[in-house]
Amino acid sequence: MPTIADQVVVIQGSTDDRRFVAAYGLDGTIVAAVSFNAGRYLEYYERQIQEAAAFPPVLDAVGQATGDDPVPAAFPPQSELTNRPTVVLTGHSPTEMRVERKFPEE
């Protein structure tokens, strides 16, 4: 099973200021964003995720982060089947958003 995301980068603000947006990428596509004290910008990243935009995001933004390179996201590898259901995107176009819920065999 693939991991959720392989890289993360602070794209707006900074963790030192305790106000930031961090974007997560998987194989060069943005897959998630997390904000801390900056929730009003999340809608923008929601759309970026829906459109499967490129990661790391390149943008000229207000409160632009310092431009550090993405670092490994360090999610634990999901190499073994678990009892948790896993959602897998299928289909050809990421905008079709068809999902299948797969339950591993006991």
């Binding site: 707006q12 603000g13 200021d17 106000r19 947006v21 004290n37 900056a38 009003r40 910008y41 999340l42 809608e43 923008y44 759309r47 943008l59 000229d60 933004a61 207000v62 409160g63």
Partner: protein, 411 residues
């Protein structure tokens, strides 16, 4: 616009003649939700497009980011409405710390008894009159007293702000077509300077003898976000103007809307919580801030079928988005019971990081003002419809709203 060009749709919208009823023009405007103007400004009128840009980090509120250099502020420090994160966040957080939670959770709520008292005192004075002007006699004095009290301006100085604020708003309304209005811009610069000097002197007085108002808080703070004097002055100036020119119009627009739709008056009288929904619908249906002309694209932004180029000025027309039939069913109907708008999804208080700073204060003021006014007036009715309007296409509301009534009920 030159003399040979036909007036554009935006020319018609900004023309004073459209002020009483801009809605048919906004409907035409929405046919092109993102429309490039001859001067290179992009006017955005669709609900979805406005919301997308309000949350887009590539949209700036800093006027110096414009490709054409933008408007100058007369050498006065920008207030947080015209800044971007991270400066914006620091200035706004510092101001909030003296206005609301977590540091002052009861700043607005504790004013409620004073608000009832003030509103009732204004209405008591109507007892012997057959006709009043809702704007001059009610909608103006109440929020102005409130903002002065919260900010720390002594009541005897309130009249000074009437003229200063008025001059600034006239200039704001003209900035889309500044040609030939040099006198108005000079008057605005002078008012700006006088108001800023006054607020500086007041901040220094409060620093020596502080109260529990915002200006005293800003002037005495020694914390990491403490502002220097120039920022304190521009912040106080912003709060005063915003407190003068928005809530006044929301109360006046509300009284006008209720008198045009009198079936709602009985419910305001009888159902204590009805006015909460009514004010939200009012913010959708007749928002006092019709458009936000101060945004700039930092890079090329694709929105809908259009790409707004980097450096282009953007005007967000909230009033048009509020009546977008793709978002609100039957948008031209005033319906406080609507299920698709009462969750605060209207654009009447803006959105994104610049969402209205004074929203909790404005909501409480207008709820108390409208409920008390319509509970106490006996058979109120419009004398003139439409009433005369203020000239500004940005901050829209009647300049006078004469109404007649048979009397005043006791408080």
């Amino acid at each position: 616009m030159t003399e040979t060009d036909a007036p554009t749709l935006m020319d018609q919208i900004t023309d004073e003649a459209a002020r009483a009823n801009p809605w048919p023009l906004f409907e035409q405007l929405r046919e092109t939700p993102v429309a490039r103007q001859p001067d290179g400004t992009y006017v955005v009128s669709g609900y979805a497009e406005i919301v997308a840009l309000l949350h887009d980090p590539r949209v700036s509120s800093d006027p110096t980011k414009r490709a054409d250099g933008g408007m100058t502020g007369g050498g006065i420090e920008p207030a947080f409405i015209n800044t971007d994160p991270p400066e914006h966040d620091t200035l706004r957080r510092e101001t909030t710390s003296f206005f609301g939670p977590p540091h002052r959770p009861d700043m607005v709520a504790k004013l409620e008894p004073w608000m009832h008292e003030t509103v009732n005192r204004l209405i008591d004075a109507f007892a012997d009159r057959e006709q009043i002007d809702v704007v001059d006699d009610f909608a103006y004095p109440f929020p102005v007293s409130a903002i002065c009290r919260i900010l720390g301006v002594p009541p005897e100085d309130e009249p000074k702000f009437h003229d200063w604020s008025g001059a600034l708003i006239v200039a704001l309304g003209l900035r889309m077509h500044p040609e030939g209005h040099q006198a108005a811009f000079q008057a605005a610069l002078k008012a700006n300077q006088e108001m800023t000097d006054y607020l500086g002197a007041l901040a220094e007085a409060h620093a020596k003898d502080p109260g529990d108002d915002i200006l005293s808080g800003l002037a005495t703070d020694k914390g990491p976000d403490a502002m220097h004097m120039e920022s304190i002055k521009s912040t106080a100036r912003l709060l005063l103007i915003a407190g003068h020119e928005t809530t006044v119009n929301l109360i006046s627009n509300g009284a006008l809307t209720l008198l045009r739709h009198p079936e709602h008056i009985e419910r305001v009288r009888n159902e204590p919580e009805y006015v909460i929904r009514l004010v939200e619908e009012l913010l959708r249906f007749e928002p006092p801030v019709q458009m936000i002309p101060n945004r700039t694209a930092l890079e090329d932004i694709a929105v809908g079928e259009t790409t707004i180029p980097a450096g282009a000025p953007i005007t967000l027309v909230h009033a048009a988005g509020n009546r977008d039939p793709h978002r609100f069913a039957d948008p031209a109907t005033f319906d406080p019971d609507r299920q698709d708008g009462i969750e605060g999804q209207h654009l009447g208080l803006g959105g994104g990081v610049h969402y209205c700073f004074g929203a909790p204060l404005a909501r409480l003021e207008v709820q108390i003002a409208l409920r008390t006014l319509f509970r106490r007036l006996d058979k109120p009715r419009l004398v003139q419809d439409p009433p005369p309007y203020r000239p500004s296409p940005i901050l829209r509301g009647p300049v006078h709203l004469p109404i007649a009534m048979d009397g005043v009920h006791p408080a």
